[in-house]
Symmetry: C2
Subunit: 351 residues, 2 copies
C-alpha cells in the first residue's frame, strides 16, 4: 500500500553537551531493533519546560552528551515484524512515556507507569526509534495535516495538552465546577483549555504575565488573578462563595505552587498535580485537615490521545497556540535559550 | 407522643485532669441552648485512640480539666424549637464532627468539614448537648436495641466503623480489587470489615498481634501479613502479581504507616488515610512518581451513617466486636489505662 521509504544512514539531532550548551549534530539514524519497534520520521518536535532543568544544571551531572526531546509527531517509516496496528506511512502521535497497553496498570488507565515501559531515542531529531509501538502510538486519521497550525496542535497533544488534560481530569473538571489553574506555562495554559473543554462552569487562571494571561483567556479562563499565596487563595475563595475551588490544577512543581493549590481548593475537592516535583514536601497534618483528593504524576497521555486527536481534527481546540515561536531544528540552541529566558511560552522545532 | 422526660440538674461525666489522670465528676447537666440543639441521654460511649494523645501528654498543655468523648449513641431527651427531624425519645447516632447538612461541603459529602461545624459537650457522660441536631444525628429505626451487642455495633458506627468505612471508600474498595489495610487498631479492623462489605475481592491486613489478626480474619481479611516496611510492601506485591494493592487504607497516622501505604499501592491506585496525622511528611517527588490517588482526613461519618445503620440492623455486620471490654462509666479511668497499655482493642463505657 505504501511505497518503500529510504532511510538515510545519518541524520541531524539535538544534543545537550553540558548545561547551557545545546548543539545539533550528525548521528547515526536509529533503526528498528525489537520486533515491537517502529522508526518514525519526525514532522515536528519541541522543547519542554522539563528540558530546562538539565539546561540550567539542576538535574545531575553530564557524564556524556545527552540526546534530547520527548514530544513528537511523525510518520512511520520502518516497523518491526510484530507491530500490528500501524502501517508504514501512518502519521502518529506518541507521548513521553511508552507503554505496552496490556499490563494491568495500562489497562487501568495509567500507561505512564506501565510496568514494561519502553524507550525512545530522543525526538529533537529527524528520526526516532519508538519501542512498544502498538501500545504507545496513536494514528491520526487522515494522515499528516498540510496546515502547519494543525500540525502544531497535534504536537501539543504529545505532552503539554495531554499533561494539562490529566491535571484537569484529576481535578475533576466538569459541569458545575470551578477549576483554578496554578501555573501559566504551556501545561498550565493547556489545563485551562482542558478544564474548559471538559465543561467546567468557571476557570480561574493564576498569571502575572499579560501574554500568558491573554492566551489563558483565549483558552477559556473566565478570571485571571495576579495575587499569589494567601492573597491568591483568598481571591479564589471570594469567587467561590467562601468555599474554595472544586478542583485545582497544579502545573509547576514547586513548593509554592503546591501550597497555592492546596490553599485554593475546598474540603472534599480535587488537586491534580502534574508539574514535575522539585523539592516539594507536603505536611501530613495539613493535608489531613484540608481533606482533599490529591492525584498526580507523569501524565497518562496515551489514555487521552484518541479523544484529543478528535477534538483537534474537528477544530474544537487549538492547543498549538502555546507555540509562540517556530524555528528549524538546526536552530535548537536558540529555542532553548528563548524558553530558558522565558521570552517564549513554547518553541516548536520544524524538522 | 412521648411522655415528658425529667432531666436531672447534675450528672456524672469523665474529666481528664492532666495527662494520665482521668476521673469521673459530678457536673451540671447540659441543656438546649440554641434552637437547633438537642440533648441526648447517652446509652453508651467509649474511649478513642485519639483520646490517648492527650492522655499521654502528647497534645498541648492542660490549662484546665477537659471533658472527654466524641462517640455516642443515645436518646433525645430535649430538643430546640427548630429541630425538625427528631423527636423526644428517638434513639440516635452522631459522629465526632457536627454538620449543618446544608452547606456546599456537606452536600458534596464532606460533613466532617462543614463550614458551620457545631459543638458538643463530651460524650463520656450521662447527657450531652449536640448542636445542629438535624444535620448531625441519624435516627435508628426501631429505637434503642435491647441487645447490648447490637448497641455496641451502633456505637462503633459513630466513629471507628464510619472512619474505617471512609478509608475503604477512599481506597476504592470494591469488586475485583485487592485492598490492604495498614493498622490493626479498631479503625483498621473496621476498614477490613468495610472493604469486605464493599465487595473487595481480597483484603490484606497488616498485623503482628494474634488477637487483632484473629478479629481481622473474622471481619473478612483473606491474608494477614506480619512483615513491615519494604518487606511488607514486597509481600503485598507478591500477592498482587507484582503490581501492588489497588487500594490501601492507612489507619494509624504515623510516618511509618503512611510510607507503608504508599509503598504497598500500585500506580494509579488509591490510598485512603484516616489515622490522625502525627509528624508525617510526604515527599512530592516520591508521590509524583508513585502516581497514586490520596484522600483522607477526618472521616465524613455522617455521610455513611444511614447505610451503616441498615447494615447493622440487618445483622450483616457486627462492628461492635472491636469492643473487647465493657465497663461502667464510673470506671473510665480503667478504660483509659487498658487502652493506653494496649491490653484492649477498644473499651465501651456503659452509661
Amino acid at each position: 500500500m505504501n511505497a518503500p521509504i529510504t532511510i538515510p544512514a545519518t541524520m541531524r539531532a539535538v544534543v545537550m553537551n553540558a548545561p547551557g550548551d545545546v548543539s545539533v549534530e550528525t548521528v547515526e539514524t536509529p533503526r528498528v531493533v525489537k520486533p515491537t519497534d517502529v522508526v518514525i520520521q519526525l514532522a515536528a518536535a519541541c522543547v519542554c519546560g522539563s528540558d530546562l532543568w538539565p539546561y540550567r544544571g539542576l538535574e545531575g551531572s553530564f557524564e556524556e552528551p545527552r540526546r534530547m526531546g520527548h514530544e513528537y509527531v511523525g510518520t512511520v517509516v520502518e516497523k518491526g515484524a510484530e507491530v500490528a496496528t500501524l502501517d508504514l506511512g501512518d502519521f502518529v502521535i506518541g507521548s513521553f512515556m511508552l507503554s505496552d497497553g496490556t499490563c494491568e496498570i495500562c489497562r487501568d488507565g495509567y500507561p505512564s507507569r506501565c510496568v514494561n515501559a519502553g524507550e525512545y531515542t530522543g525526538s529533537q531529531a529527524e528520526y526516532m526509534r519508538v519501542e512498544l509501538a502498538d501500545g504507545s502510538l496513536v494514528k491520526v486519521p487522515g494522515g499528516r495535516p498540510d496546515d502547519p497550525d494543525r500540525l502544531a496542535d497535534y504536537l501539543a497533544a504529545s505532552d503539554v495538552l495531554g499533561t494539562g488534560w490529566y491535571a484537569a481530569v484529576a481535578a475533576q473538571a466538569g459541569p458545575g465546577r470551578t477549576i483554578a489553574v496554578v501555573g501559566d506555562g504551556a501545561v498550565g495554559l493547556c489545563a485551562v483549555l482542558a478544564a474548559t473543554s471538559l465543561g467546567a462552569e468557571r476557570v480561574i487562571a493564576f498569571s502575572r504575565h499579560e501574554d500568558r494571561a491573554a492566551l489563558a483567556r483565549e483558552f477559556g479562563a473566565d478570571v485571571v488573578i495576579a495575587e499569589r499565596g494567601e492573597e491568591g487563595a483568598q481571591k479564589v475563595k471570594e469567587l467561590t462563595g467562601g468555599y474554595g475551588a472544586h478542583g485545582v490544577c497544579e502545573a509547576v512543581g514547586t513548593q509554592g505552587s503546591m501550597d497555592q493549590a492546596l490553599a485554593s481548593v475546598r474540603p472534599g475537592g480535587h488537586v491534580g498535580f502534574v508539574g514535575v516535583s522539585h523539592d516539594q514536601t507536603i505536611n501530613g497534618l495539613d493535608l489531613f485537615f484540608r481533606e482533599v483528593h490529591l492525584e498526580g504524576g507523569p501524565a497518562p497521555v496515551r489514555r487521552f490521545l484518541p479523544e484529543l486527536i478528535e477534538l483537534i481534527r474537528s477544530g474544537e481546540i487549538q492547543p498549538g497556540k502555546v507555540f509562540t515561536q517556530r524555528v528549524p531544528l538546526e536552530q535548537a540552541a536558540e529555542a532553548y535559550a528563548a524558553m530558558n529566558e522565558r521570552r517564549e511560552i513554547k518553541v516548536l522545532l520544524e524538522v
